[in-house]
Symmetry: C2
């Protein structure tokens, strides 16, 4: 009678709950130790799971890092699809600014700064960025299909410009981001991508 129940609980912990526990522990370790000092053993300790189960599921630390960073960022800064480019860009930039100013968001931004990381960490960092950029570029691509955005507009440039502005506040200015900034930034850029 005991064995199946125990087995059932283990199955549960190896599913969505196991993944969430481990990804949360990974984010916490990035914030504590820096992205180039995350080890399976420390994450396993923090999550209260066996280290071997991390090896089985993610194989390498960089794969775990990407999964954790993408999952957290997608949850905190979703890519909106409201039917209006202006509204989508403003929501995206506002969410990014809010997340960037939370302790975990600031830590992620500062600890994902490119540096002399090991090559596998560097490639994880880049994969994270490429996935996030491509997702956000959809806002512009959908605007092109609706005729709101000039077909020649550079979607990546728009996303990098808004993202760079928010990141700069966190990485270099070290000051709060004014709540009016996202709206002003979108208003600055929109005329440059509106069909003439």
């Amino acid at each position: 009678m005991e064995a199946p129940q125990h087995e059932e609980r283990r199955t549960q912990v190896r599913g969505a709950k196991f993944r969430a526990l481990v990804l949360d522990a990974t984010i916490a370790r990035i914030a504590e130790a820096g992205i180039d000092h995350v080890r399976f053993a420390d994450v396993a300790d923090k999550a209260g799971v066996h280290e071997a189960s991390l090896y089985r599921r993610w194989k390498t630390v960089p794969r775990l890092l990407i999964d954790a960073l993408l999952t957290r960022t997608q949850a905190e800064v979703p890519i909106p699809d409201t039917g209006s480019v202006r509204r989508d860009l403003k929501m995206f930039t506002t969410d990014l600014a809010r997340f960037a100013q939370t302790p975990i968001g600031t830590a992620l931004i500062r600890f994902t700064v490119a540096s002399d990381n090991a090559p596998d960490i560097e490639s994880s960092r880049r994969e994270f960025w490429m996935q996030r950029l491509s997702a956000a570029e959809e806002i512009i691509e959908r605007g092109k299909k609706r005729g709101e955005v000039d077909p020649g507009a550079d979607a990546r440039l728009v996303v990098l410009t808004l993202g760079g502005l928010i990141h700069l506040h966190v990485t270099h200015l070290g000051t709060g981001i004014p709540t009016t900034l996202p709206g002003q930034a979108v208003a600055l850029i929109l005329p440059g991508i509106t069909p003439s």
Copy 2:
């Protein structure tokens, strides 16, 4: 006969040449050790001058850091004044992109990332940024006077947007900056500040 000559040489070395030697050594130490690990003793060693002369001239390390960072950045990324906002912004962004990709420029950008620096270092970092921003904003303010730029345009927002885009490439993308990027970025933003 010896004494006056020697005195004359010392005076020279305590003037412009002394300052240049020390500032170069300071930049080199920032790049080597990080901005929060620069000490008068190491800078003096590297510059081949007496540590006491650094105390006399700059009083504190943060004051030396600001002087070195501002001097180097002003030399590498001057604020142009060609009579055209488009040309000024493109030159400024192009110079910034070029400098950001030199080893010393990359080091400066990465090592001036806000972090848990000592309070006096943090205030130096901020003073550096405020001085650079104010200088670059002149491009926009001059454009307003010439009627090229909408009087309501936010000069700081324009400078932060262009600067953020360049910085993001160095801090987070870790990729080369395409040579076409400065021109495209300026073209993206100009319609948003042009008088309607």
